[in-house]
Amino acid sequence: MILYLLCFVLFLVGLYGVITRRNLMKITISLSIMEFSTFLFLALIGYVKNGVPPIVDPAKPDVIYVDPLPQAMVLTAIVIGLATTAMLMAVIIRIYRKYKTLDIREIKNLRG
């Protein structure tokens, strides 16, 4: 239970960062922290008590494996997270070239 709570705390840390930070880079890092708290949670729900890693060994047929599906899901989600972060980084570099700043308070052309 404590692990799930810690995941939630990590999620809140990321959310706090996204809301309060002013630097585009720090917002991206906070978003990644949030992402990884979700991945941790997803990996945790697949745990089975006394389970072993799900690698099939023909020599030992009857052991309890942990649920491999959340692990596959986490891997997929990590790939997606990588793509999102790379995309954000590219956009941030472009923004820096246009605005010469990373402060979100200076970047406000669009409103209304």
């Binding site: 890693p53 690698i55 099939v56 060994d57 023909p58 891997l75 990590i78 790939v79 990588l82 790379a86 980084m89 590219a90 570099i93 472009r94 820096y96 070239r97």
Partner: protein, 145 residues
């Protein structure tokens, strides 16, 4: 971007090939052990990135668009997709059908077409991560210029 000191360069020369080989090992054993296309591809891309970081990007003469890595990346995905589509033409005519003989559990050549997917996904991931790295590097060099 400038390169690093001679110590770093020499160490990189020594370990870079080993990192590359380890990546290839992870890719081709993807259906037996943890890892596979994505993890192995990241390691392979890491060996290239290590070289670029140690020796600097000046010796590479980067152009605005890196054609080689982009084409490799698209080729990797395309071949994986074609392998998936061959399932529709062979056997019971299903998308993503595993139509090759499965072999024995635990042997290197087993599990039908899954190792093939792993290899091409590995190529695609390695090329795409290298492309992302090069694109960010080109952006940065345009900034400093």
């Amino acid at each position: 971007m400038k390169g690093m000191t001679i110590i770093v360069k020499k160490t990189t020369q020594l370990i870079c090939g080993i990192v590359f080989l380890y990546g290839v090992y992870v890719i081709i054993h993807g259906h037996l052990t943890p890892g596979g296309g994505f993890a192995g591809g990241v390691i392979v891309a890491g060996s290239f990135i290590l070289l670029i970081l140690a020796f600097g990007s000046d010796f590479m003469h980067l152009t605005r668009e890196e054609t080689g890595s982009t084409i490799t990346e698209n080729f990797g995905v395309l071949v994986a997709l074609i392998i998936a589509l061959t399932g529709m033409a062979l056997g019971t005519k299903v998308f993503f059908l595993n139509w090759l003989p499965k072999g024995k559990v635990g042997e290197l050549i087993s599990a039908g077409v899954i190792p093939l997917y792993n290899i091409f996904v590995g190529i695609e991931v390695a090329a795409s991560i290298l492309t992302i790295f090069l694109a960010l590097l080109i952006f940065k060099e345009e900034l400093t210029r």
